[in-house]
């Protein structure tokens, strides 16, 4: 029986350029996460600050954000797995609580990507791969995912239209999400005719950089029941790592880190893919969502494209996925993304989603990937 719960979840609007400092961004997410909770700042026993440090001008932002939110003298530290940093933060928060060290822990993710010039940002892109062996060839995040896309197409017949249909769906839901950066509905044609970035991925197959923050408050079961009317229980946690290099990958048609993380999470939660009522998956690229369908067991290997073709991942489909618009619509402020995904599932399970509420959702799943499939994180939550 789960005895660690999420009692609050908040996020800022994700935008191309927030115009405020990272501490102020964090405050806004923190404020939303504490809304309606019967606690104050001083009830938080520890904080975990999550981001990708290459975008921070501030060294060691954990101390800075702790001071701004008056979380001192409670322990605070920084956790990172690139794009899945705040899911890793949730895993660590869970273990801090479960181990008995703490009762209430805040997981705060943020990224202010607009702080860097686009040239500096592009330089960081180049250092995301193995800097000795693969960065010198010009490997980037889109190129890595593009190689997965190509392999999937060659093996299973997935097409560029299938990829585009993921974006059609996500742009449809993103249009009504007030926290999303990109809120325009896109047609299949818009997407297919957009600029080719790295074959077969086009501009609209890719999510965009953003500024934003998220916050998730985790509490011990007994405490959770006392402070929140609708605690959401952490049922399963999975995490796995794959090689940094593309050369080391043993499978090119799916992310092994996600498959392994899913296996762990389902096992711990005691549920199966067909038990999931609503899911958030890491659609940094359209292809990533199709890989996720298969890696999570929503479709068999090679049958992910069929799921979007049949619209089964729409809100009224067999397994609604990214009905908040996903990273493709919301934008991807690296350290904040996992927390935003968790927030969506928490709201779905509480029946509080203002946009596309999946009726009667009881069990939800978050799939959050760091890097080009380096870090896989799967979290299963229950109302």
């Amino acid at each position: 029986m789960a005895d660690v719960a999420i009692v609050g979840a908040g996020q800022t609007v994700f935008s191309r350029s927030c115009g405020v400092s990272i501490r102020e961004l964090a405050f806004d997410a923190f404020q939303e996460a504490l809304e309606g909770l019967d606690i104050t700042t001083s009830d938080i026993d520890a904080s975990i600050i999550c981001s990708a440090p290459e975008y921070d001008k501030q060294r060691s932002p954990a101390g800075l954000i702790s001071e701004y939110l008056e979380l001192t003298p409670k322990p605070s530290f920084y956790v990172e797995t690139v794009c899945s940093s705040s899911s890793t933060g949730l895993r660590v928060a869970w273990s801090l609580v479960k181990s008995g060290l703490h009762k209430v822990v805040a997981v705060i993710g943020f990224q202010k990507m607009s702080e860097l010039s686009s040239r500096d940002a592009a330089e960081r892109m180049g250092r995301g791969a193995d800097i000795i062996w693969e960065s010198p060839f010009g490997l980037t995040m889109p190129a890595g995912y593009a190689m997965y896309a190509r392999a999937h197409m060659d093996k299973y017949g997935t097409t560029e239209e299938h990829l585009a249909k993921v974006r059609v769906k996500n742009s449809h839901y993103g249009a009504t999400n007030p926290k999303a950066n990109y809120r325009k509905e896109l047609s299949l044609e818009d997407i297919l005719k957009s600029d080719m970035i790295t074959t077969p991925l086009k501009k609209f197959d890719c999510c965009a950089n953003a500024d934003g923050a998220s916050c998730v408050i985790v509490a011990r079961g007994d405490v959770a029941k006392g402070i929140s009317e609708k605690p959401i229980w952490v049922m399963g946690l999975g995490a796995a790592t794959d090689t940094m290099t593309m050369a080391g990958r043993k499978q090119l048609t799916g992310l092994q880190c996600a498959q392994e993380a899913a296996r762990q999470a389902y096992k711990m939660a005691g549920v199966k893919p067909q038990d999931i009522d609503v899911a958030e998956v890491h659609d940094c690229f359209t292809v990533s969502e199709i890989l996720a369908y298969e890696d999570l067991g929503f479709a068999k290997p090679g049958e992910g494209a069929g799921l979007i073709e049949d619209k089964e991942t729409y809100a009224d489909g067999k397994i609604p996925v990214n009905v908040d618009g996903g990273l493709l619509s919301k934008g991807h402020p690296i350290g904040a993304t996992g927390g935003s995904q968790i927030r969506t599932i928490v709201r779905q399970l509480r029946g509080q989603a203002t946009e596309a509420q999946v009726k009667g959702a009881e069990i939800g799943l978050v799939h959050n990937i760091g890097g080009i499939g380096q870090y896989g994180n799967v979290t299963i939550l229950r109302r």
């Binding site: 010198p136 593009a146 190509r150 392999a151």
Partner: protein, 137 residues
């Protein structure tokens, strides 16, 4: 000699595995193998995590591989602007070795297909930099 002239942009230079560059200058693309436990490594490792030995030996990657996947990159990151478009590819070679490199400019994009035969060869770039790439095998 380290990795200071490797690829288009070198992000770091020092490594025990830098003998790779010496061999590359001699025309050989090498991997390492642990003489104690027999495991081989590409990218080469200067240590063997399988048996925790710090002694490895070098061997040349010969023979033909096949194209596993690729992408034509139209926009490179900083420092790669003049290279784009370039084609990144993964090739599978004997003994479970997989290599990421670019496809040679010799190969027309219309000729590229999954499974095509490849060899990996050193590439001396005009600016005095060195790398390796895939050619038709």
């Amino acid at each position: 000699m380290g990795f200071e002239n490797f690829g288009t942009v070198s992000f770091t230079t020092e490594a025990k595995a830098a003998d790779f560059i010496t061999y590359l200058e001699q025309g050989k693309v090498m991997a390492t193998r642990c003489p104690k436990c027999g495991v081989s490594y590409f990218p080469p490792k200067a240590d063997c995590p399988s048996c925790l030995s710090g002694e490895v030996e070098w061997f040349e990657i010969k023979g033909k591989g096949k194209l596993a996947t690729y992408t034509i990159v139209n926009y490179g990151p900083s420092g790669f602007e003049n290279d784009a478009p370039y084609i990144l590819a993964l090739g599978e070679f004997e003994g479970g070795i997989q290599i990421m490199a670019r496809l040679s400019k010799d190969i027309a994009s219309s000729d590229i297909e999954a499974g095509m035969s490849l060899v990996v060869v050193p590439l001396k770039r005009p600016e005095g930099r060195i790398s390796y790439e895939f050619k038709k095998g």
